[in-house]
């Protein structure tokens, strides 16, 4: 930081206070407290920005159960063999070093009247502002025959880490000419192009290792994100391999039998070797426990991501119902910065700037064949509304597609640095 008049005065004021009341400052008591639940793209970013920009004036605690966090974005590239699992794992050492209290524990309850969070380990955290960024949970009974107990037989791999490794191992163990099935989710869900990037990555793996294998996708939707780009890519790189069964052909009428490894689509039963079930989704459970959800998601105020139900609770990323933004890591990161600015303003009187949101989602279809979609957003009274957008075009030349993939790798490093320091 360069020393200018403002920071010089600030430093002097703080030093004077220290002399007057050293004990108070030394213990950090009296500082406003922010508790952040969830250490992903929303939570880690919010914690980091509040701590970084408030220069120690706010006490920030980040609650995240896992010590190594695997990003859902780029986890398909691990499944396709373009990344190692270690490439998408991140730890919280730099956030802790930056003064954030990182607690590896589960948040099990929120008392909004007492303004406390209870952890599975038994401790209670008081807060002035609470930020919930818990990602997704699955809707019970969304796919007939599947429940979370079946996730080892039929993995969802929609929370990255061990589930991604399991799905990858199942692909490697598939018999020659075997069948991979995916049950795709209904809207809205985390990462709109995610299931279709995954289909591309599975197809890439099969083309190299098991070229006579087949891929069936049962989809309850009539269309999907970047559809023409993916379908063009599947025809180009993996002709005849992918059978996408949309709503029109009964793709929404699906049941599975994890014990016998069968999938029944519109009455027709198929024996499969690997089945990736991505169920319908809802806000992470702690949002529901905090009582800020309405239906499956938590409605928020578009200007600052505060919950409609409680001005001292903010909901970021996948769990939030905000309007036009997709549920993506990029979106959560963008929302976190607006939220951090608002929280800091409310607690320390720092300047609050108007909200600006943006999103870009890159997807990899095959080696060096990357595509992207993105938009900018601004808050209106009722929702976060899209103001401008773009999407890659079909028929782009290979140099541009390669540059787009390289750009996505640059973005991955950029956003994970922005999240974890």
């Amino acid at each position: 930081m360069t020393l200018n008049r403002r920071t010089f005065l600030g430093t002097t004021a703080a030093a004077a206070t220290t002399l007057a009341a050293p004990n108070v400052l030394a213990q950090g008591a009296g500082k406003p407290r922010v508790v952040v639940i969830g250490g992903g793209a929303g939570g880690a970013t919010a914690a980091r920005y509040i701590a970084k920009d408030s220069d120690g004036a706010i006490d920030v605690t980040l609650v995240e159960p896992t010590r190594t966090y695997f990003t859902c974005f780029f986890s398909n590239l691990y499944i396709g063999g373009f990344k190692e699992i270690s490439d998408i794992g991140h730890t919280y050492g730099k956030l802790a070093a930056a003064g954030i209290n990182v607690l590896h524990d589960w948040a099990v309850d929120v008392d909004r009247d007492a303004k406390t969070v209870t952890l599975a380990g038994g401790s209670t955290l008081p807060y002035d502002k609470l930020i919930l960024s818990p990602g997704i949970d699955f809707v019970d009974g969304a796919v007939e025959g599947w429940s979370i107990e079946a996730q080892n037989a039929m993995p969802h791999a929609y929370k990255a880490g061990s589930q991604s490794e399991l799905l990858r191992a199942q692909l490697e163990a598939m018999p020659e000419g075997g069948t991979f099935a995916m049950v795709a989710p209904p809207n809205p869900y985390r990462c709109p192009p995610g299931p279709y990037e995954r289909v591309s990555m599975v197809a890439h793996f099969m083309k190299e290792n098991n070229p006579t294998a087949k891929i069936i996708v049962a989809d309850p939707k009539p269309k999907f994100s970047k559809m023409s780009l993916f379908q063009e890519g599947w025809n180009k790189h993996y002709p005849g391999m992918v059978d996408w069964i949309g709503e029109e052909f009964g793709g929404g009428n699906v049941s599975v039998d994890p014990a016998n490894m069968t999938v029944t689509i519109d009455g027709e039963e198929t024996q499969v070797d690997v089945c990736n079930v991505i169920p319908a989704q809802k806000a992470g459970r702690i949002a529901e426990m905090a009582g800020v959800t309405d239906g499956n998601w938590a409605p928020v105020n578009p200007a600052d991501m505060s919950a409609r139900a409680d001005a001292d609770v903010y909901v970021l990323g996948d769990s939030a119902e905000q309007g036009d933004m997709p549920k993506s890591g990029f979106a959560a990161n963008s929302q976190a910065k607006v939220c951090a600015n608002a929280v800091r303003g409310a607690l320390t009187g720092s300047k609050v700037f108007p909200a600006k949101y943006s999103n870009t989602c890159w997807s990899l279809i095959a080696t060096d064949d990357g595509v992207k979609v993105g938009a900018t957003y601004e808050p209106t009274e009722e929702k976060i509304a899209s103001v401008d957008s773009f999407i890659s075009e079909t028929g782009e030349d290979s140099a541009l597609r390669k540059a787009t993939y390289e750009e996505s790798e640059g973005w991955y490093t950029g956003i994970t640095t922005d999240m974890f320091g």
Partner: protein, 240 residues
């Protein structure tokens, strides 16, 4: 050149711009352009037997994707522009010749640009002689008109608020690393403020063709671009 100095230059130049514009509506004079090419000939060859020198040779320029000639080590900045779809024709050359960094911030070409629209038009007319199939023959697309692309001096003179820039920078650092890495996505830290402002306005005005950047810059106001330039221009190790 400092912002103040440049602004003064523009203030002085503004008086003759009106007359220059009407002259520029006509076709350029290739014979006059041959003399303008003296600015370029220290580094660029054109015509029969032309080879790459300090800069690439300029034969067959019209209709060519930028930075695609074999055997010339283009800057990363130009390669990006070419991959992103920059193609040379009268209109893009006009923007480039007026202010090269508007098109490619990291170009190694050490040339401040030609502020006189007539000189640009003449030079473009001259260079067109060395392309087999220029797109702007009279009966084709009307791309011969010179135009005034450069930024309003008031925009360049704006002093940005780095505190606002720091807040706005959140959108940038989701992709561009504050640490200045150049892999896959170019570095945007420690640029001269004017270069930053020129580049962002070139995206905003769709003279540069990266879709994400056109979208991001498209909704930023002049003050916001100035604020970002001020913030990233002074980003020190500590702040990152």
């Amino acid at each position: 050149m400092s912002v103040g100095c440049r602004s003064l230059f523009f203030a002085l130049a503004a008086g003759c711009l009106a007359c220059a514009t009407s002259a520029a509506a006509e076709e350029g004079d290739p014979e006059a352009g041959k003399e303008v090419f003296d600015y370029c000939s220290g580094c660029h060859e054109v015509g029969k037997g032309a080879e790459h020198g300090i800069g690439p040779h300029l034969n067959g320029l019209f209709g060519r994707q930028a930075a695609t000639q074999v055997g010339f080590p283009y800057s990363e900045s130009f390669k990006r522009a070419g991959t992103g779809g920059l193609e040379w024709h009268a209109e893009t050359l006009d923007v480039f010749l007026e202010n090269p960094t508007a098109i490619a911030s990291g170009t190694r070409m050490s040339f401040d640009g030609l502020p006189d629209p007539q000189e640009r038009l003449d030079l473009i007319a001259y260079l067109r002689r060395f392309s087999d199939n220029p797109r702007d023959i009279p009966e084709a697309d009307p791309t011969i008109q010179g135009s005034d692309h450069d930024l309003d001096p008031e925009i360049l003179a704006l002093v940005g608020d780095p505190e606002y820039g720091e807040y706005l920078s959140g959108e940038c650092v989701a992709c561009h690393q504050a640490g200045g890495s150049n892999d896959g996505i170019p570095s945007i830290v420690l640029w001269p403020e004017e270069d930053f402002v020129v580049a962002m306005h070139a995206y905003k005005n769709k003279q540069r063709n990266h879709p994400v950047m056109q979208m991001v810059a498209g909704r930023l106001g002049d003050e916001e671009i100035a604020a970002l330039a001020a913030y990233f221009g002074q980003l020190t190790e500590q702040k990152r």
